[in-house]
């Protein structure tokens, strides 16, 4: 089961990277000038947040191959894409709030000093926004770790699936599920303590 826990961590990690990438992209689009792109991003975000994760996973893993045989993803890949894309829509709101929390004056000052919009974002806004979005992002990772259990329903190789497999051929399923629970807890609790300490540390430095 410990190997499966490693797979869970892998799944969490890769999905998180995708989610951060998609989220940043969407947040930047949402705070950009063009209202067409802003609305398109908003639609994407609303759809991603309003659909249950399980439905998204099923659409990618079972639905896409029916549309075209080229779109057959492995259950791990489908889980990463599904959780990553939806995570991106969730993080997009967090990142957008972080970007907007930075004084508008900073953006104006940078532009009037001659920095290009890209440089403004990369060197002025983003570093400050990252400090703001770190705690919510930390909380998101912890949620993501637990949500990987959903991927077991499409048979992605992770802890929950391993627990299910072992439990179905065992005469003590309860013990196995509780053991899986302990492993999940052992993975998530240290993370949540870390996030809490981060929240305290970050709020102290800002006074």
């Amino acid at each position: 089961m410990l190997w499966a826990a490693g797979e869970t961590l892998k799944l969490t990690g890769v999905s998180f990277l995708l989610a951060v990438f998609v989220g940043s992209l969407l947040a930047i689009i949402r705070t950009s000038g063009s209202s067409f792109f802003r609305s398109t991003a908003l639609v994407f975000i609303e759809v991603g947040r309003g659909t249950p994760a399980l439905v998204i996973l099923f659409m990618i893993y079972f639905g896409l191959p029916a549309v075209s045989p080229n779109l057959q993803f492995s259950s791990f890949a489908a889980a990463v894409i599904g959780l990553g894309l939806q995570g991106g829509t969730i993080l997009a709101e967090t990142f957008r709030a972080g970007i907007e929390a930075i004084d508008v004056g900073q953006r104006e000052a940078s532009l009037s000093l001659g920095l290009t919009p890209t440089q403004t974002m990369a060197d002025v806004i983003a570093p400050q926004a990252i400090r703001i979005v770190l705690p919510p992002t930390g909380n998101y990772i912890i949620g993501l770790l637990k949500d990987t259990a959903i991927a077991s329903i499409i048979a992605a190789p992770e802890l929950m699936l391993r627990a299910k497999d072992l439990a179905s051929s065992s005469f003590m399923p309860m013990h196995l599920y509780v053991l899986a629970g302990l492993i999940y807890f052992a993975m998530s609790y240290p993370l949540s303590l870390l996030v809490r300490r981060m929240e305290v540390a970050l709020s102290k430095g800002r006074a």
Binding site: F62, I153, P173, Y177, S192
Partner: protein, 223 residues
């Protein structure tokens, strides 16, 4: 590609009632779990702020464990695990209890934060004005606390509705379970799951809008 849309529009009417029945079940599960989560959450919140260490420790342990493990796992333990010990529940009951227990841990934190957010000075002022503790709670603390707790609560309720899809894995007859059975029979996976997604979106997006509108008047009222 045209075949895709053909089948989509031809069979859609026949699947819709069946799936909407599932939506009704999902709402039932969510409602039941919400009640349990709120009641249990309130109890836990009170336990979390009590002065007796043992009580606080029990509540804190419950909250940390329920929040540190996946809801799906908790559902499985309640549905499959308990049947070992002789307690067998229907899928819906297991789903309601499981999601409710999970939610209670989350809401306990929301409630605790809401009550704690009310300025201590208010309590002291009310007490010094001669109001008995019960009336202090009823007329001063609770109305303000409820206004603070309402947005996260509504957000939680919407998330809960989406989480009812987990109940499909313990064979509760909600929308996702029905959809999976339909797909097994008809092989129209993309169309059916797309339909399910649309139904969830039509329910959840208006609810989220409601939730964010609950947030805004609070800011206006401060003026």
């Amino acid at each position: 590609m045209t075949n895709f849309f053909e089948t989509l529009f031809r069979v859609l009417p026949s699947f819709l009632p069946f799936l909407l029945e599932g939506a009704k079940v999902a709402v039932q599960i969510a409602f039941g779990a919400l009640i349990i989560a709120i009641v249990l959450g309130l109890f836990l919140a009170i336990m979390l702020v009590m002065r007796i260490k043992v009580v606080r420790f029990l509540a804190r342990s419950y909250v940390e464990i329920m929040r540190g493990t996946p809801a799906l796992l908790q559902l499985f333990i309640i549905y499959f695990g308990l049947s070992d010990i002789g307690l067998s529940l229907s899928p819906m009951a297991a789903a309601i209890i499981g999601l409710g227990a999970n939610g209670s841990a989350y809401l306990a934190e929301v409630f605790r934060a809401g009550i704690g957010a009310i300025d201590k000075g208010q309590k002291e002022a009310a007490a010094s004005l001669g109001l008995p503790p019960i009336e202090v709670m009823r007329f001063i603390i609770l109305p303000q606390a409820i206004r603070i707790m309402l947005p996260p609560l509504v957000n939680y309720a919407v998330q809960l509705l989406k989480d009812t899809t987990l109940a499909s894995s313990v064979a509760a007859p909600e929308m996702m379970f029905r959809a999976r059975n339909l797909v097994m029979e008809t092989y129209l996976s993309m169309q059916i799951y797309l339909l399910v997604a649309c139904i969830y979106l039509t329910i959840c997006i208006p609810l989220s809008r409601l939730a964010s509108r609950l947030h805004k008047p609070n800011r206006g009222a401060a003026h």
